[in-house]
Each structure stands twice: as structure tokens, then as C-alpha cells.
């Protein structure tokens, strides 16, 4: 089976302007969402308490609210369904320091009489730990980006590195925008998903770049946009296929992985779609607009090859004892 004709060259760079408009709209839209609606930080980063309760029958949410009202500790508590009508999550902004009697115990006690239930999960994150996790989270995103930037610059060229990082920023921004749009709780798992997107999207970009680099050295054309078109077309089957298989598995995770993994899988789904798109329509055009100089690059490669050959010759002479 084949999705794409192996020999055909598609004119991707021809639509790059339109793609850029779309990207700018999406990214700007994401930032508007981030600044107006904002991200809902979950307990991991904001601190607070989560109590997950499962009832034998459908959870009596109104009755639960009434019961929790009695204690001022639960002021501002939100109760939402979690995956099924039997299961609910109580979210609180507050946390507690006492080891023997914490806010989860209080919730347990307060809910007595609302039916037959089981407390399945209690997460309490104090403000100090929340701050620390947030700092670490931002640091990890930055560090990963810098590490990747250095590696790509080292393996390719600085323009490739900048183009791939712009694609990354594009992907992460849109993923964050989607998270804000759907009001997902940003917790550690979402951060892990964002870092995975970072790696995944770059994976895609690098495969395309690797082909562009190869195309530049092997193809005869000196037209960069034509060379890029050829390279993207050659990798199109791979890009689509890998995205599809990854999309499959993340989709099953999203559908069947359970409520706890939902935000994680959702973030990844968005990331896979956007990451695939960006490796073709963002990273490559940026490379083109940066004025990547095919002739210069070839000259440099030729120079390098010449030096290698020279070295080789010297070594051979040395080994033969002629020097």
C-alpha cells in the first residue's frame, strides 16, 4: 500500500504563505486565550487539595455541596464529575500542614451520610512544593529547548536550529492554547506531555531537515524552495505514517486510558497534529526565509571534503613513509 507517489514532488513552499497566515492566527489566538482565559493550574503547580470520591450509585453532588458547606475549610470547593456519574473530584485551593489530621480526612468526615462512598485519591500539595514544582517545570521546558537547540546547531547549522526551535515554540504555544480553551487542569502530567511534544515535533522536523540537508548536497537544483519541496515530498510518507501510528496509540490512550490520563493524552493529541503540520509548514519555510544559502553551504561542504581528503592523503603518505 502506498499513500503518496514516491516520485512526485508536491509544491509545499507554494502554500507556505497561506500556512504562515494560519500559523500566526493559531499562535496569536492561543496567546489571546492564555492572557484572557488563562491556564488553570492544577494542585501540582498552584498547591491545594484534590479528593477523588467514588460512590456506589450516582454521586449526590448537591447533597455533597450541602455537607461540605458546614465547614468553612471547604469554602470555594468545586465538585465535578470525573469520568463517570459515580465518581467525583473535589478541588480545594487550600492545603493543610497537619500530618495526623489533614484536609482530606476532614472531607471524608464531612461527607459521611451522603451515601455509600470510597475515597480513592487524596492529593495535597502545600504552597512551597507547588512553587517548587512550577519553577522546576519552567526550568525543564527551557533546558530541554536549549539542549535541543545546541544539538541541532551542532549537527546541522544555526539556521536549522533556529527554525526548529521556532517550530517548537509554535507547537507548544498552540498546545497551551488548546489546554486553555478546554480548561484542562495543568498538572505534572500535562508538563510531561508538553515535553514529549517538544521531543516528538522535533523528531519530525529533524527527519525533514535531514532530507533537506541531503537534498542540498545531492540534487542539482540551486533553488532552495524547489529543493525543500523535493525533500518534504520524499519524507511525506514517513511523516504521515509515523504521525498516524503515534496518533493511533495516543488516541486509544485518550479513549480507554482512564480519566487520570485524559489531559495528558489530549495534550499529546494536539501536539502530534500540530507537530506534524509544523515540521512541514513552519520549520521548512522559516529555513527558506532565513535565506539559507545553498551555494554557500555546498561550497563549505566541498571545502570540508577537500580538507578531509587532504588529511587522508597526508596520512596515507605518512603511513607509506614518504614523509
Amino acid at each position: 500500500m502506498e499513500f503518496f507517489k514516491n516520485t512526485k514532488t508536491y509544491g509545499f513552499m507554494g502554500v507556505s504563505k497561506a500556512a504562515m497566515v494560519l500559523s500566526i492566527i493559531l499562535v496569536l489566538g492561543s496567546y489571546v486565550l492564555l492572557f484572557t482565559k488563562g491556564l488553570d493550574y492544577g494542585v501540582d503547580f498552584a498547591g491545594g487539595t484534590i479528593v477523588q470520591v467514588k460512590y456506589a450509585k450516582a454521586a449526590p453532588i448537591d447533597q455533597m455541596r450541602e455537607s461540605l458547606k458546614a465547614d468553612p475549610v471547604f469554602k470555594g470547593a468545586s465538585i465535578t464529575e470525573f469520568g463517570s456519574p459515580e465518581e467525583v473530584i473535589i478541588r480545594l485551593r487550600g492545603s493543610s500542614e497537619s500530618v495526623t489530621s489533614d484536609i482530606g480526612d476532614l472531607a471524608h468526615a464531612s461527607l459521611k451520610g451522603t451515601g455509600d462512598f470510597e475515597v480513592r485519591r487524596v492529593d495535597i500539595v502545600g504552597p512551597k512544593v507547588g512553587d517548587e514544582l512550577r519553577e522546576k517545570g519552567i526550568m525543564s521546558l527551557l533546558l530541554a529547548t536549549i539542549g535541543i537547540l545546541i544539538y541541532v546547531a551542532f549537527r546541522f547549522e544555526w539556521r536549522f536550529a533556529v527554525a526548529s526551535v521556532m517550530a517548537l515554540v509554535h507547537d507548544i504555544s498552540i498546545a497551551l492554547g488548546a489546554i486553555a480553551l478546554f480548561g484542562l487542569d495543568v498538572n505534572l502530567d500535562v508538563l510531561a506531555a508538553l515535553l514529549t511534544i517538544l521531543g516528538y515535533s522535533l523528531n519530525d522536523t529533524i527527519i525533514v531537515f535531514d532530507r533537506i540537508r541531503e537534498g542540498i548536497t545531492t540534487s542539482k537544483t540551486t533553488d532552495l524552495s524547489e529543493s525543500i519541496n523535493q525533500s518534504i515530498s520524499r519524507t511525506l510518507a514517513r511523516t504521515t505514517l509515523t504521525s498516524l501510528t503515534t496518533f493511533f496509540v495516543v488516541f486509544t490512550l485518550f479513549m480507554f486510558g482512564g480519566e487520570i490520563i485524559h489531559s495528558f493524552a489530549f495534550t499529546l493529541l494536539v501536539g502530534i497534529v500540530v507537530g506534524t503540520y509544523s515540521s512541514i509548514f513552519v520549520a521548512s519555510p522559516v529555513l527558506m526565509w532565513f535565506g539559507f544559502d545553498i551555494k554557500g553551504y555546498r561550497a563549505k561542504l566541498a571545502e570540508k571534503a577537500k580538507r578531509e581528503a587532504e588529511k587522508e592523503r597526508m596520512r596515507a603518505q605518512y603511513e607509506q613513509g614518504t614523509i
Binding site: 487524596v122 495535597i124 539542549g147 510531561a192 509515523t242 498516524l244 495516543v250
Partner: protein, 540 residues
């Protein structure tokens, strides 16, 4: 590198057989390794290294505790103050206004001739700084001493909590220092709310046992007295543990404390109620004997964590250094109390910084859900690969299965913990591990179209693909390593499975499948059926 066949044109019966090559040998060895070491985890056998399930999958309690180290500093100052009081009382040195504040002890001497005696005494106390302003003394801890005291409080808390949990009888408790001053406690064995409550009570209990004298002269007035009035007599007002509202007037400086305890165990009184039997070391026994000998007819208060457990009348001198603490406890409470007393008091109180508790039923649900996702995703990918690439897809799928076994085996061998995000990592690896084979297969197809021989298409296809695969995998690995370094708890599990998956895929998807192709090459050459082997039209 190119170890394979010579000329595909000269087919003979000899070359029809599958060829062994070093790649296939390594690959088979890896598969055997993977299967062998993942079996204990898959079959849950008795022997062999198994993968540990994270608390989010098996249920349990995870806590990050802080130590109120400033309390340890305060109590150190308090003990310096009692030392000064003890010394000046003994030698009849007159001092005034002795008190221990947040960070200092102050007092003033009344007779400046006695300054020498005071100076001599203070010189013997280590780690303090003394400022003298006329008659006024100001004793502070040196900065080094403050740091040392705080550090000791944390060390001691870790040690004590570990001792207590070891004796509590839960499976595999973890107590470890995290960062400078946090204590990580993980209890996988917790199954119920009640168990969790018991464990938390045990961990946080100060367990400070003191034998104290009752102020016999003023005890009748305890209900009219304010704490500050009591303090002016050198007394404290302590509540009774059993009877609500009952208060005791106790002399502030204890006769002896739990530090002199050698053992504590559960026993039973005449009416068969549980009680704690304890024994003291020889020094404690001496002090206890002397005190009870001198105070026959008076009351002795047994005080635990600021509550009076009993205050019996001393009938006679109690030698031998043993005693009982009775209270209205259940057998379980008595057992926990005995453990806490045996493992010593906490120097400073602890507090909760983070707690994550997962019930076993939720863990089981998570395992089930992630297994369904893994299986579903795996089947979809496997079927897709075969439909798209035919035999090449089957080869890629063999590598994929091998990859899964290797992930399990490596995790089991390194004692890594499998968490829910870790499961997600494995699911994601399934999607991403076939990537290498997709890249390779596309390269081979491309070369076949350009009309090169099958041998050349395979060899050159691998050559062309490998650079891109390496670059792509290394960048993903960079993200995973950062995630591991900066992630906490369950997220680390995700970084681990992703990293192992990537590394394993280099072995299985690149080396392994290459070996299979080389082994089958003569067959592929013979059949010439590119549609069957690579899923492309033979001629176009």
C-alpha cells in the same frame, strides 16, 4: 559492516538457506534477554527481579514531610536555660529574669562577684556565644551551632520515622531525605483509610515521655491559676489525657525524660487492659529511685507529649528502673505507642508538605485502563504496518514486540518503578518505535523504485536512514533526560520508559530488522515479489 551476500544472481541450493549474520545473532540474544528477564514481572513468579509498580498503580501513601527545625533550635535554647537554672540553684547563685526567647536566653546576675562562676559554667557549654552588658547576660547559639542543630533535627527525624515504620510491619516502606530538608515517605502497603491514619499518627507522634513531679503545695489551686502565674512558680499546667477538663499542676523541669528509656512494650494490667511497660537505663533507674525514695506520699506524673497519662501516689521507693503507663487505649494504640517510645522522640515537629494517597481500587482501575490502551494501540499499529508494508511490516512488528520485552526486562533489572505515566510512555513508545522502521522501509522503497538491486536497496536504505533516525532519537532522548532530572515521582517513570524505549528501538528496529533482511535476502532475491516483501508494485 557489509557482511552479506556476494552476488544475488548466482543462486544455488547452498545460498537458499537463511544466512546467519552477526546482527541477527545479537538480535536473537537481545530477544532472549528481554523475554527471560521480563518473565518474572509478567508471570509474577516468586523468584527473579520484578518491576515495582508505582504508588499510583498499586495504591499507597506518598508524603513529603518538612521538619520545623526552628523548634529544635528553640528547644536547644530551652535546655540551655534549664542547665543554667539547675547550676545556679545548686550553687546558690542569684540570677534574675531567666528566660528562653526565640533565638536567645537572657538573664542577669544580682551579685557581680558571682560573674566568674557564671562565666566558668557558660564556658563549658558548647556552641554558644555570650554577650555581657553590665549585669545582663545574653546567650545565643553560634550560626554553626544553629545549622548543626537543624541538621541534627532532620537526621534524627528521618532515623526515627524509619525506625517506627520498620517496626510498624508494612511492606517496603521508603524513608529518604529529599533535597536539603525534606523527608520523603512512601508506603505502598497502605490499603485502607484506617491503616493510613494509623501510619500517619505513628510517624508524626512526638513521643516525648517525661516523668515529672506534681506541685503538691499548690495543686489544689490549679483551676484558678493562669499559665503565667503557674510559670512564676516554675510550674506548668498540663491536661489529663483521659478525663476532659481535668488539669494538673506540674513542676516544669522534668525528673527524667524518654532519652533514658531502654525498652517499651505492651503489657496488661490486672483488669487485662493494655498498658505500656517501660524500663530505664541505669542512670535513669538511679534518678528514678532517688526521686521516689525522697517523695513517698507525693504524686508522680507520667507525661507524654504534654498530656498527663497518670499521676499515681508514690507508695515506696521504686528501684529497678521500670514502670508502666496506663491509659484507656486499645491494643493497637498501645502497640503503636510502644513503637514510638522505643524508636525515640522527635526533636522537632514535622509537617505535611505534600501528600498523595491512592486507594488500591483506583490503582487497579488505572492498570486495567492503561493495559487496554496499550493492547489497543499495539494492535492498531501492528495491523497497520502489515497492511501498508506487508512482509516488511511483519519484520518491523517483530522488532516492536522485542522492544516491549526489552523495556520490561531492563526496568525489572534496574529495579525501576512503573507508574501510570510510565505506562503511557510504553504506549507512546509503541507508536514511535515503528518510526525507525517506517523511515528505513521508505528509504528501501525509494531505492527499489530507482531500480537498484534488492541487496543494494537494503544496504543503502539502512545507510541513508540511520543518520536521520539517530538525530531524531537523540533529540527525543534529550527531552526525556531533562524530564527525568526535573520531574518528580510518577513523571520520572514516564521519562524512564521513554528513554529505555528509544534506546531499545535502536537495537531492535535498526540492528535487528537489518539482520532479518540480511538473513532473508536470498529468499527475497529469489521471489522477486516486491509487492509481497515491501508492499510496492513490482514494476511500474
Amino acid at each position: 559492516m557489509k557482511s552479506s551476500s556476494d552476488s544475488p544472481k548466482t543462486l544455488s541450493a547452498e545460498s537458499m538457506r537463511m544466512k546467519l549474520n552477526y546482527r541477527i545473532i545479537i538480535f536473537v540474544a537481545t530477544i532472549l534477554f528481554g523475554v527471560f528477564f521480563s518473565l518474572p514481572s509478567l508471570l509474577q513468579t516468586e523468584k527473579g527481579a520484578k518491576i515495582t509498580l508505582g504508588l499510583d498503580l498499586q495504591g499507597g501513601l506518598h508524603m513529603l514531610l518538612g521538619v520545623k527545625t526552628e523548634e529544635a533550635v528553640k528547644s536547644r535554647l530551652k535546655s540551655i536555660a534549664s542547665g543554667i537554672k539547675h547550676y545556679t540553684d545548686k550553687d546558690d547563685i542569684l540570677i534574675d529574669g531567666l528566660s528562653a526567647k526565640e533565638d536567645r536566653v537572657i538573664f542577669s546576675i544580682l551579685d557581680s562577684d558571682e560573674a566568674k562562676l557564671i562565666d566558668k559554667m557558660l564556658a563549658e557549654v558548647k556552641g554558644i556565644k555570650v554577650d555581657i552588658n553590665g549585669e545582663e547576660y545574653r546567650v545565643t547559639l553560634t550560626p554553626e551551632e544553629v545549622i548543626a542543630t537543624k541538621k541534627q533535627a532532620i537526621d534524627q527525624a528521618i532515623e526515627t520515622i524509619r525506625n517506627r515504620l520498620d517496626q510498624f510491619g508494612l511492606a517496603e516502606p521508603t524513608v529518604a531525605r529529599q533535597g536539603e530538608e525534606k523527608i520523603l515517605v512512601e508506603l505502598p502497603g497502605i490499603k485502607t483509610q484506617e491503616e493510613e491514619q494509623r501510619a500517619r499518627d505513628l510517624i508524626s507522634r512526638a513521643a516525648k515521655l517525661e516523668m515529672m513531679a506534681v506541685d503538691e503545695d499548690r495543686k489544689m489551686r490549679v483551676y484558678q491559676m493562669t499559665p503565667s502565674e503557674a510559670a512564676s512558680y516554675g510550674d506548668v499546667i498540663l491536661p489529663d489525657v483521659a478525663q476532659e477538663g481535668v488539669k494538673h499542676l506540674i513542676k516544669e523541669i522534668p525528673i527524667l525524660d524518654g532519652g533514658m528509656l531502654t525498652n517499651a512494650s505492651v503489657g496488661f494490667d490486672q483488669s487485662n487492659r493494655p498498658q505500656i511497660n517501660f524500663s530505664l537505663n541505669s542512670e535513669g533507674a538511679q534518678i528514678f529511685g532517688d526521686f521516689t525514695g525522697k517523695n513517698v506520699g507525693n504524686h508522680l506524673a507520667i507525661v507524654l507529649d504534654g498530656h498527663v497519662y497518670s499521676a499515681p501516689v508514690i507508695n515506696e521507693r521504686i528501684g529497678g528502673g521500670s514502670g508502666q503507663i496506663s491509659g484507656n487505649y486499645t491494643l493497637e494504640e498501645a502497640q503503636d505507642l510502644a513503637i514510638a517510645l522505643r524508636s525515640g522522640a522527635l526533636l522537632a515537629p514535622i509537617y505535611m508538605m505534600e501528600k498523595r494517597s491512592v486507594g488500591p481500587s483506583l490503582g487497579a482501575d488505572s492498570i486495567r485502563a492503561s493495559l487496554v490502551a496499550l493492547l489497543g494501540g499495539f494492535l492498531m499499529v501492528v495491523i497497520f504496518m502489515v497492511v501498508y508494508y506487508r512482509a516488511a511490516g511483519v519484520i518491523a512488528n517483530i522488532a516492536l514486540v522485542a522492544n516491549l520485552f526489552i523495556i520490561l526486562a531492563v526496568m525489572a533489572l534496574f529495579g525501576a518503578t512503573l507508574t501510570l505515566p510510565g505506562m503511557a510512555g510504553i504506549v507512546l513508545t509503541v507508536g514511535m518505535a515503528v518510526d525507525a522502521n517506517v523511515i528505513i522501509s521508505e528509504r528501501i522503497r525509494e531505492l527499489l523504485y530507482s531500480g537498484v538491486s534488492i541487496h543494494k536497496a537494503i544496504e543503502q536504505g539502512y545507510d541513508n536512514a540511520i543518520r536521520a533516525i539517530l538525530d531524531a532519537n537523540i533529540t527525543t532522548l534529550i527531552a526525556a533526560v531533562v524530564l527525568y532530572a526535573y520531574g518528580t515521582g510518577a513523571i520520572k517513570g514516564f521519562a524512564i520508559t521513554i528513554s529505555i524505549g528509544i534506546l531499545a528501538s535502536m537495537l531492535t528496529a535498526i540492528l535487528g530488522t537489518h539482520g532479518i533482511y540480511q538473513m532473508l535476502e536470498t529468499r527475497i532475491n529469489q521471489s522477486k515479489d516486491k509487492a509481497f516483501w515491501f508492499g510496492i508494485k513490482a514494476e511500474r
